[in-house]
């Protein structure tokens, strides 16, 4: 098989991990909240999903239902995390950065606790569960068809999010809340409700990324250890894609390619790179994000800036 095609085909599913996190974070940021808890939330999603899988392991629930239930569990786990975050930052007006970082500490720790606890007796169940996430027609590993259901789910969610944000009244109102909450409030939009719902749903979506990464992409319970770093990249991807979920589809695949560049580029170019160069190549996604960050801030194009109300708590009395 063409090594380049193979490279892309591997990058697509990896990219979906970013896509879940990124779509979730876009929704949250559009409501004016920079949720730095996304890495922790993604971890929690993975843990909740796996926990559900473990409970259902060995029962005679149909495979399709097992997949749906574990996805729902991950989603609910994310929503709960999002609810804690919203309660602290929206209702209690806490600092978003501090709250987000605490969420990540908590999420990563809890996930490790749950995953190791489950691995204590029979961690291998996940490898059986892996097959559930494939379509029945899944064939060889080197084919698009091999992609599991959650790859398509990620694409669908991103497209729906994009549609909602740009084409619906709800999306218009949500964007207004993030840009200028005082104005939104003045025209009768329930700012608090929008912030809560967007943050919770966004967290739920991001949580799916964790489940996807463990159960589908990596297929190993150990995989939870890499989610935090992937989560931060997902947060960075939001800037890279200029807060547009449909662009983030391309962006996430590109980030997947960048993430794998360390191991793939040498084979691809048929060059013998010194092994020490790998970490340098692995820095690529971060360096690219920094460059994008700089370019967008220098260009000052209004459409490419973060939502104007990002990071600021809204307190009506303070207008």
């Amino acid at each position: 098989m063409n090594p380049f095609l193979d490279y892309i085909l591997t990058s697509i599913p990896l990219g979906m991990t970013f896509l879940y996190g990124c779509t979730g974070e876009i929704l949250t940021e559009k409501a004016g909240h920079l949720n730095l808890g996304i890495p922790g939330i993604m971890c929690i999603g993975g843990a909740c999903g796996c926990f559900a899988l473990k409970l259902m392991n060995g029962t005679n629930i149909p495979p399709a239902l097992i997949v749906i239930i574990s996805i729902l569990c991950a989603f609910i786990g994310g929503i709960l995390m999002g609810a804690v975050y919203s309660f602290l930052t929206v209702t209690l007006k806490a600092n978003q950065n501090v709250t987000g970082l605490a969420m990540t500490t908590f999420g990563v720790g809890t996930t490790k606790f749950i995953m190791n606890g489950m691995a204590g007796n029979g961690g291998t169940i996940y490898l059986y569960a892996l097959d559930y996430f494939r379509f029945p027609f899944a064939e060889s590993t080197n084919s698009l068809k091999y992609n599991g259901v959650m790859v398509y789910l990620a694409l669908i969610i991103a497209l729906v999010a994009s549609f909602v944000l740009t084409r619906t009244r709800v999306g218009l109102h949500l964007r207004a809340v993030g840009e200028n909450p005082a104005t939104a409030d003045a025209v009768g939009i329930n700012v608090t409700m929008y912030k809560y719902v967007a943050t919770c749903i966004g967290s739920g979506i991001a949580a799916l990324g964790g489940l996807f990464y463990i159960m589908d992409y990596a297929g190993s319970y150990e995989a939870y250890k890499s989610i935090e770093a992937l989560g931060w990249l997902a947060v960075a991807l939001v800037i890279f894609t200029l807060w547009k979920p449909h662009i983030s589809i391309v962006g996430s695949i590109l980030f997947g390619m960048l993430y794998l560049a360390g191991s793939r580029i040498p084979t691809l170019l048929k060059i013998q790179l010194d092994i020490s160069a790998t970490p340098l190549l692995q820095m690529l996604p971060y360096v690219v994000t920094i460059i994008v960050l700089i370019v967008t801030s220098v260009s000052k194009k209004r459409e490419n800036q973060p939502p104007a109300g990002l990071g600021l708590p809204y307190f009506r009395e303070e207008r």
């Binding site: 602290l88 600092n95 990540t104 500490t105 606790f113 947060v235 340098l280 994000t289 920094i290």
Partner: protein
């Protein structure tokens, strides 16, 4: 009274509090911590079958149980305090530097690099000085790059500094591969560049950090630069009005912040690890943000908050060993405690005013 029926208003509304006596705000915080610990101990009842008293007792034992534990506690708290001191000047300026992790790591890397390349040629004394200078320079550079872009183009510093963490960690991984011919990426403890041991092996480190605390406190509260930082943080308009170059202050302050991070890296290498890995800082760069924020960016109070957080971590680590549960347990405890403290700040800066009558309920 028909107006009442027409509107659906909450029975209370939120008002920004003017001020609150110190003891009262402390009481609220203590209540929050106690509530958090209660929740944790209740959780632990389910998870590990320990009663809440056992839980608390084990935590205290984990920190105060032996002189070795106490020294470890003081050491960990000092390193955390050092990084927290580093992020503080930037935070007082409302510059959200979450790159302390990377700034410290790059400082540690610079130290190890100097010791690795020059260790055989330079005697220990000058070598330590070179390591010190290299760390501070590396940290300062790592801190000032995002600041330059922030000052010039208002580039988002939160994400910039975050990304710099990963670049730093990538560089560490690169040099480790370079320095370990076997490709194992595990660099054994260097035999050179050790800080002298005075009394106890951690004593120098602890004293150094305490001295630094005093210096940072004086810098922030009693120098002109510290004063400028406060003015910029409080109101950029005022800063411009009295002729402070806001960009200049941002860059200068981040150089200071980064340099202190670099110093922390130097201390970790010179006094403790004598080596570096990608996890040398181990998330302390993020925890330090909490430490600083909890202390309302006051360096002296940070001695207390860093001790508090370290106490939580080390105490709950003791629980993990005693009850043989996963080592991630401390993160959960610290996370829950943080949620409670973050949440309780609301009750310190805002108060709920209940609507007594229709007229009182009127919005001003």
């Amino acid at each position: 009274m028909k107006m009442r029926e027409k509107t659906h208003e909450l029975p209370f509304h939120v008002v920004k509090r003017d001020t609150m006596p110190f003891w009262k705000s402390m009481t609220i915080r203590i209540v929050a911590v106690v509530a958090a610990l209660l929740l944790c101990s209740v959780l632990s009842v389910f998870m590990i079958n320990a009663n809440p008293f056992e839980f608390i007792e084990t935590m205290i034992d984990g920190v105060l149980g032996s002189s070795r534990r106490l020294w470890k506690f003081a050491k960990d708290a000092s390193i955390l305090l050092c990084i927290a001191l580093a992020v503080t000047p930037a935070f007082r300026m409302r510059f959200w530097n979450i790159g302390a992790e990377g700034q410290t790591l790059i400082g540690a890397l610079a130290s190890v690099g100097v010791a690795y390349y020059l260790g055989d040629h330079v005697p220990n004394g000058p070598l330590l000085i070179l390591m010190f200078v290299a760390s501070i320079l590396a940290g300062a550079i790592w801190g000032c790059v995002p600041a330059i872009f922030k000052a010039k183009w208002n580039t988002n510093e939160t994400l910039f500094t975050l990304m710099m963490n990963y670049v730093a960690s990538g560089l560490v991984a690169y040099f480790l591969l370079l320095w370990t011919p076997s490709g194992s990426s595990v660099l054994g403890a260097l035999s050179v560049g050790h800080l002298p041991v005075i009394g106890h092996e951690y004593l120098l480190l602890i004293v150094a950090v305490l001295v630094l605390t005093a210096i940072v406190y004086i810098y922030l509260h009693y120098t002109k630069q510290g004063y400028e930082i406060s003015v910029v943080g409080e109101s950029e308009n005022t800063a411009r009005y009295i002729g402070i170059g806001v960009g200049k202050v941002i860059i200068r302050t981040m150089i200071v912040s980064g340099a202190i991070c670099g110093l922390a890296g130097f201390l970790i290498v010179g006094a403790l690890d004598h080596s570096v890995t990608t996890t040398t800082v181990g998330g302390m760069g993020f925890t330090a943000i909490m430490v600083s924020w909890l202390a309302k960016f006051n360096p002296l109070v940070m001695i207390g908050t860093s001790a508090f957080i370290t106490f939580m971590q080390q105490g709950s680590a003791q629980i993990t060993t005693r009850f043989n549960i996963d080592s991630a347990f401390p993160d959960i405890v610290v996370g829950i405690v943080l949620f409670f403290i973050i949440g309780c700040e609301f009750f310190i800066s805002y108060s709920l005013k209940f609507r007594e009558s229709k007229k009182k309920g009127e919005k001003e």
